[in-house]
C-alpha cells in the first residue's frame, strides 16, 4: 500500500512568532521552524500501518527552502521518501490554493493512485483544520476526519472519532483520506540510525510548473481571504486582589458571578 502523509513546516511555538510587516503573512524566515507537532501523529500512524502491513510512506510538504526540514524529520522517523513543493509564487497561499497544490503533488507522487492519504487534524500555526476536507474533495476521495483510532480492513478504513458527547465509528472505502488527532498514537523520536538512514532517502523538489499549476491560481494575490490587520495580544493585566475581611468568600462568589462562572 502506498501511504501519503501531508506535513507542514511551522514556526516553533516556543519561539517569539510574528508576521511579515509588508504583507501580514506568517514570518517563516525569522523564527526557527519545525515539523508541525500535529503532523507527527500522521507520520507515526502511517509508519505503524506500513510496518504492520507493508507499504511505502511518502511525505509531502509545501513551503520555502527551510520546509525541507519537515520532510527530513519525517524521513528520520522512518518515512521512505519525500516531496517538497517549493515555488516563490506559493507565498501567501490560502487553504484552497494549498489543497490544490497538495492534490497535484500527491497525484504526481503516486501516478494518480494514492491508496491512503493521512494528514494531521490542523497545523499548529494556522490551526484552520480545513485543508484535509478540501484535499479530499480535490482528490475525489472519501474523507474521514479527526480519527483517534484507525484500522485498515479489506478495502476499507475504519476510524473512531471522539466527540464531546459521543463516539462515532466511521467506515470509508479505500482509497481514502484520513485526518488524525493527537490522541491516536505516541509519535516516535527519530533514532540516530534513522537520522543516518534519512540522508540516503530520495526527496523530490517540485515547482508549480512541475505540477502543471498556473501561478495565477495560488499565492497571496489570489487568496480568497485577506489578513487586514494584525495586533499583538495585549499583555496580561494584573488580577484583582480581594482582601479577606471576613467576606472573602462572598466577594469571590460575586467576582465569579459577574463573569457568569457561577
Amino acid at each position: 500500500m502506498n501511504i501519503v502523509v501531508c506535513v507542514k513546516h511551522v514556526p516553533d511555538a516556543q519561539a517569539d512568532r510574528g508576521f511579515n510587516e509588508s504583507d501580514n503573512t506568517v514570518d517563516r524566515a525569522g523564527v526557527d521552524g519545525l515539523l508541525s507537532e500535529l503532523d507527527e501523529y500522521a507520520v507515526e500512524e502511517a509508519l505503524k500501518l506500513a510496518e504492520a502491513s507493508g507499504g511505502e510512506v511518502t511525505v509531502v510538504t509545501i513551503g520555502p527552502d527551510q520546509a525541507a526540514d519537515a520532510v527530513k524529520k519525517a524521513l528520520q522517523m522512518g518515512a521512505d521518501k519525500g516531496v517538497h513543493v517549493n515555488d516563490e509564487a506559493i507565498h501567501g497561499s490560502d487553504a484552497p490554493a494549498t489543497s490544490l497544490i497538495l492534490a497535484e503533488a500527491i497525484k504526481k507522487a503516486t501516478d494518480g493512485n494514492p491508496e491512503l492519504v493521512i494528514t494531521g487534524m490542523a497545523s499548529t500555526d494556522g490551526t484552520m483544520g480545513v485543508v484535509p476536507a478540501m484535499l479530499a474533495e480535490r482528490l475525489g476521495l472519501p474523507q474521514v476526519t479527526y480519527a483517534s483510532e484507525l484500522t485498515l480492513g479489506d478495502g476499507k478504513v475504519t476510524i473512531r472519532r471522539d466527540n464531546d458527547a459521543n463516539t462515532e465509528t466511521i467506515e470509508a472505502s479505500l482509497p481514502a483520506l484520513v485526518s488524525v488527532t493527537d490522541q491516536i498514537n505516541e509519535p516516535r523520536y527519530p533514532s540516530f540510525k534513522g537520522i543516518m538512514a534519512a540522508k540516503k532517502k530520495p526527496v523530490e523538489s517540485w515547482t508549480l510548473a512541475d505540477l502543471g499549476i498556473d501561478a495565477g491560481q495560488v499565492g497571496l494575490a489570489n487568496a480568497w481571504t485577506k489578513v487586514v490587520e494584525i495586533a499583538k495580544r495585549p499583555p496580561r493585566e494584573q488580577g484583582e486582589i480581594v482582601k479577606d475581611e471576613g467576606d472573602g468568600g462572598t466577594k469571590l462568589a460575586e467576582f465569579l458571578a459577574a463573569r457568569k462562572f457561577l
Partner: protein, 404 residues
C-alpha cells in the same frame, strides 16, 4: 518566567551528524526530561524511584551507545560528539546524564579489551539501548585505593577455561564473592561490569568480568540516602559465590587494573561533560534571574559587582567545556589523553561546584529554596568532585603525568 528552558550553547561538531544528533537530543530533552526531572528527583529523595522509562527512550533513540562501534549497534561517534550530547542531557537532568556516562563506561572494557568472540556475543545486547549496565569497581574499603579490593573470583573446578572464547554459556569457571559499594544502577542494571581479585598480587591480581544482572547469588543493599542525584540509585552489590563463565572474563587474568584505569580515563570525560552541563544550567538560571530581579529600582544585573560574578561563571563554564573537548579530540585522534581527561574532570567539576554555589548567591534567599532549581544543582555538583576519582586523585594523576 521559565528558567533554563532554552540552552542556546554554541556547538561545533566535526561531522554533520553531530548537528542532527544535537537536534534529536534537544527534542528528547525538551519533551521527556525537562518536564519530568523535578517531580522524579523529589520523589526519589523520599523513596527509591529509578527513571527506567527515560533510559528506554534514550536507548530507542540511539543515545545510550553513541561512542561505541557501529558494527555492534553503537553510534560510531567520536567523543567530541558523544560528550556534547551528555552535556546537553546533564543541562536538564544530571542523574540521567551520569547514567548515560556510567552505561558507556560499562561497555568500554568489552569494546576495548574484549576478544572478537566476546564483542560478538556481548556488545549487541549492551549497545541495543534496551540494556543498562553498572560498573562494580569501588568497595567499602577500596575507594581511591582500587588495588585494595578484596572481592575475589575463584576458579571453580573443571569448568570452561575460556579457551576458544566462543561466548557460549558453559559450566561456570569462576565464583565471585565479595561486596561492591557506591554502585550506580545497582538493582536495575542488566549486567555488572565487575572487577574482582584472581590472585593476591595487589594491582596485578585483578580481573574484569561481565556478570549478568540475573545471576544467582547476586543481591543488593538498601539504596544509599544521598544529598542529591536521587534518581541515580546507588547501592551495594553483594556477590555470594556468583557463577561466571570464563567467556565473560574480559582480558587476561590480572589485566583488570589496566582495564579499569583505561575505562576511567574515558569515564572521566563523561563526568566532565555532565558537570559542564550542570554548571551551564545554573549559570542560565542566575543570568535570567539577575536580569529580572529588581532592587533599588533597577535590575540587580546592572550592578557591576554582580555582573563581574556572572562573567567569572561564564569563564568557568567555557573553560570547562574547552578542557573536556580538547581531551576528547586527543582521544578521537588516537593520542594519549589521560592527563587532559584528569584536568578536564578536575576543572569541570570544580567549576560546577563554584557556579552552582554562586548561582544560589545571585538568587539570594530564593536560590536557597526548592522553588528554584539551583539548590538541587548545588547538591548534585558536590558529588562530581568525588566520583570517578576524587579531585585529589585527579591531581595525583596530573602530577604524575607532569613530573614523569
Amino acid at each position: 518566567m521559565t528558567y533554563s528552558a532554552s540552552m542556546a550553547v554554541q556547538r561545533l561538531f566535526p561531522t554533520d551528524e553531530g548537528h542532527d544528533l544535537l537536534d534529536l537530543t534537544r527534542e528528547v530533552v525538551a519533551k521527556e526530561l525537562r518536564p519530568k526531572v523535578d517531580a522524579a528527583e523529589a520523589a526519589a529523595a523520599l523513596g527509591e524511584e529509578f527513571p527506567t522509562d527515560i533510559f528506554r527512550i534514550l536507548g530507542r533513540a540511539g543515545l545510550l551507545s553513541l561512542p561505541h562501534p557501529e558494527e555492534f549497534g553503537g553510534g560510531g561517534q567520536p567523543y567530541e560528539v558523544y560528550l556534547q550530547v551528555v552535556e546537553e542531557i546533564a543541562s536538564a537532568w544530571m542523574s540521567v546524564a551520569v547514567g548515560v556516562s556510567v552505561h558507556s563506561l560499562t561497555a568500554f572494557p568489552v569494546t576495548t579489551f574484549g576478544s572478537p568472540a566476546q564483542r560478538e556475543a556481548l556488545l549487541p545486547g549492551m549497545l541495543s539501548g534496551h540494556q543498562l549496565g553498572a560498573y562494580g569497581l569501588s568497595e567499602p574499603l577500596a575507594g581511591s585505593d582500587v588495588a585494595a579490593m578484596t572481592t575475589r573470583a575463584t576458579r571453580d573446578g573443571a569448568g570452561d577455561d575460556g579457551a576458544g572464547d566462543d561466548g557460549a554459556t558453559d559450566d561456570p569457571a569462576y565464583r565471585i564473592r565479595g561486596r561492591k559499594a557506591w554502585i550506580s544502577h545497582a538493582g536495575h542494571a542488566d549486567y555488572y561490569t565487575t572487577f574482582a581479585r584472581t590472585s593476591d598480587a595487589r594491582g596485578r591480581g585483578i580481573s574484569c568480568f561481565i556478570v549478568p544482572g540475573d545471576a544467582p547469588g547476586l543481591s543488593f543493599g538498601a539504596p544509599e540516602k544521598k544529598m542529591g542525584l536521587h534518581c541515580d540509585t546507588v547501592r551495594e552489590v553483594i556477590y555470594e559465590d556468583v557463577p561466571v563463565d570464563a567467556a565473560r572474563r574480559i582480558g587476561d587474568e590480572g589485566q583488570g587494573m589496566p582495564i579499569a584505569l583505561a575505562a576511567l580515563d574515558a569515564g572521566r570525560l563523561g563526568i566532565a561533560a555532565a558537570a559542564t552541563g550542570l554548571a551551564q544550567s545554573a549559570l542560565d538560571v542566575a543570568v535570567a534571574y539577575a536580569k529580572e530581579r529588581e532592587q533599588f529600582g533597577r535590575a540587580i544585573a546592572s550592578n557591576q559587582g554582580l555582573a563581574f560574578l556572572i562573567a567569572d561563571l561564564e569563564a568557568a563554564v567555557l573553560g570547562a567545556r574547552a578542557a573536556y573537548l580538547f581531551a576528547a579530540r586527543l582521544k578521537d585522534a588516537g593520542r594519549p589523553y589521560g592527563k587532559e581527561a584528569a584536568v578536564a574532570k578536575l576543572l569541570a567539576t570544580d567549576a560546577a561546584m563554584r557556579v552552582t554555589t554562586d548561582a544560589i548567591q545571585v538568587l539570594g534567599g530564593a536560590g536557597y529554596t526548592q522553588d528554584f532549581p539551583v539548590e538541587r544543582y548545588f547538591r548534585e555538583a558536590k558529588v562530581t568532585q568525588i566520583f570517578e576519582g576524587t579531585n585529589q586523585i585527579q591531581r595525583l594523576v596530573i602530577s604524575r603525568h607532569a613530573l614523569g
